[in-house]
Symmetry: none
Subunit: 268 residues, 2 copies
Amino acid sequence: MLETERHRIILSAVQERPVVTVADLCALTGVSEATVRRDIAQLHIAKKLRRVRGGAEAIAPPQFVGINARPFAVSQAINIAEKRAIAQAAVDLCEDGDAIIINGGTTTFQMVHPLTTKRLQVFTNSFPIAEHLLKQSRNTVMLPAGAIYREQNIILSPFDDDGSNHFYARRMFMGCRGLGPLGLMEGDPLLVQAEQKLIDQADDLVVLADSSKFSRRSSLLLCPLTRIHTVITDDGIEDRAASMLEAAEIRLIVAEVAASDRQKRAEE
Amino acid sequence: MLETERHRIILSAVQERPVVTVADLCALTGVSEATVRRDIAQLHIAKKLRRVRGGAEAIAPPQFVGINARPFAVSQAINIAEKRAIAQAAVDLCEDGDAIIINGGTTTFQMVHPLTTKRLQVFTNSFPIAEHLLKQSRNTVMLPAGAIYREQNIILSPFDDDGSNHFYARRMFMGCRGLGPLGLMEGDPLLVQAEQKLIDQADDLVVLADSSKFSRRSSLLLCPLTRIHTVITDDGIEDRAASMLEAAEIRLIVAEVAASDRQKRAEE
DNA sequence: CGATTATGATTGAAATTGATTGACTTTGGC
DNA sequence: GCCAAAGTCAATCAATTTCAATCATAATCG
């Protein structure tokens, strides 16, 4: 990992939320605390961020859309370490030049940090993801037409023909509300609409689902398991859930949660 | 392998991704590290890329969007008082509930401030306008499909059928590069494309043009004067320009520049 | 053919990184 | 308010990586 890459990731993380801890940045960059501290000190001198005890904060208050919005913020906080590890594993699947689709959601949003060091074509219906990638990375960003829904933070057109169907990608990344034998469940009808629009624009459907998602159910079935190509989850997944995916011939990727974060989680 | 050949490969690699390591470039070019380093040093001096420890990166770091972006920022500063007054007059034409289209540009961007207190349906191809309205107002925000162009800060689809044609509005607001007898002139081909897409989606075309625009010309003609319904300008407009608009039966609104700002302008 | 230039290898210098240590700060309980 | 515990930080050092300088060889040019 080059120094400039780390700096990009750190700045990206600092923009996302009011403060980031040194441990957060270690997990995000994969380097030691000492290096993160040195980087923060450098960026502080360069006035790219403000150094505070325990971590760093953005130099300017202007925040991204939705991160401060209530519904986004609360689910943002839970299982953050797992989501980060899963998102990292998702980005690891991509190579520079790839065209991908990222569906809106708090898990998929975590992909923006590792994405800052990539150069992809990203099609997303998530306004915060688009905004972040636009400001913090050199990726090409493409959007569907539609109205921006504030609560869900997604762009959704009321029309079937909204131009998004011109964009095809190798992979589509999406989160979900729950993942069971019936298939992929979603909680919000609006999200179902948005996801169904995109789901046929990609060859492989990659689902990002932390291990808690396997025990959650919902009333809205988005698609059957057979449509899913890959599931990325954390190492808290139970054997039963793994067997279910295996039976459906779904590729399973288990992301390792960073040790520092794991400890933190165990203590809580 | 010729030197110029290597340089081409190196530059291309740097453009493709945010950073490349020396090892990457060795593999790509098949030459030794020493040569790659020498090449990077050369290109660094020639300002074709930036040399960083471990490799090289593109010379222009991720361009930031919005009012801080360079190309945006410079034109943002000039005639700011006039632009504000014009934008205010433009927003005064709107009533809560109206559906309007706002084309991207620095003059039209000034509309976001008076718009914060309104409740309109705003369709815009400008990412900064959408972002601002989303964060600072309760207006409904709608976007066309397409890629986000960083320099122009607009969203533009490469396809004719991009879903934006589902949105119709009473008025479309746009800026311009120049306004002459031939019609409305624009400076950037990309802007022409974006504007031509929208121009037929509204009944009335309202052009925001500060008085300096009447003496500017450009090579790209966007539409004839007859298509324009209203022009909003500042009180620096000359009689000759006003007569031209009158002859074309265009409604002319002259926005009063606030006294305090006028003074500021005089001082400069 | 000689001279100039480009290339690759070698080597020592310099910078970066991660771990360790001890000092300092904050937090929570009493 | 005081103390202990945990957390945070700066300084240091060793290991690694990266860089620059040098030199020998190969290629190019006049």
